[in-house]
């Protein structure tokens, strides 16, 4: 229990948020929205890490979340740079057009 809230509720909430992100990645073709759904999935996991860190009174979980945020910031910076480069060459950010990378 965290302040009267069962850890199961947090498990359920972050599972639902993660699944929404996963559905977004599968159902959308706009690459920027794909990126946002990945952020959503990362945040679901962060939420669960903080919940368990509070539950077990262990600081390591929250420090991990801090590091995950730093990695996510780096990922977004590089990813959006790649996206704007793709947009400059293809004039579109449709994820299906990226299959051109195969050849």
């Amino acid at each position: 229990m965290i302040n009267g809230i069962s850890i199961n509720m947090y498990l359920l909430l972050s599972t639902v948020l993660f699944i929404i992100g996963a559905i977004g990645v599968m159902a959308r073709r706009n690459t920027i929205i794909l990126f946002m759904c990945i952020e959503l999935m990362l945040n679901a996991v962060n939420l669960l890490l903080v919940a368990f860190s509070t539950l077990h009174n262990d600081t390591a979980g929250q420090v991990f979340v801090f590091f995950i945020m730093a990695v996510a910031a780096a990922e977004v910076a590089v990813g959006l740079a790649i996206l704007s480069m793709i947009y400059r060459n293809l004039k579109s950010i449709d994820s299906d057009l990226l299959s051109e990378l195969k050849n």
């Binding site: 509720m9 559905i23 159902a27 920027i32 929205i33 945040n43 077990h56 801090f66 740079a81 790649i82």
Partner: protein, 170 residues
Amino acid sequence: MLGYTITQWVFGILSFMAIMFALMVVFSRNPVNSVLYLVLTFFCIAGHYLIMNAQFLAVVHIAVYAGAIMVLFLFVIMLMNLNQDTEPQKTMISKIIAGVIGGLLLLVLVGALKGTDQLTTIQSGASKIGLVGNLGKVLFREFLFPFEIVSILLLSALVGAILIGKKDVK
């Protein structure tokens, strides 16, 4: 109030809002609206951090995600001049398949997590570990080396982003 404490009410409302806004991120047609809904989702998650007394993370979360990353997303979207008309759409059948796969995944995960009632719980009470002082001590003692590595990671991401974004690399 109906046998629930204030914290439980706040948790329920924040969870409901987070899930609704997350759904709006996925289903809204305009990318700018998606970004704004994602910011609202992040505010709800920051509220959850505050419930768990993780104050440092709540503030960092708002500053980094809502303040920096989402603004970056908005910049890129406005740079590309995306709107509803240019939005690529998947076919209906692949959307339905995505929904079914997601639903099945949710079913499996919830089924797997159902048996966690007997989890050994450690009563924390009003936890103090999320405060800045505590977290700072741990961060700069036990995790000093990873902390420095992260700074190198951010520097390399900075250089990489500039290098990729350049028009012509000599």
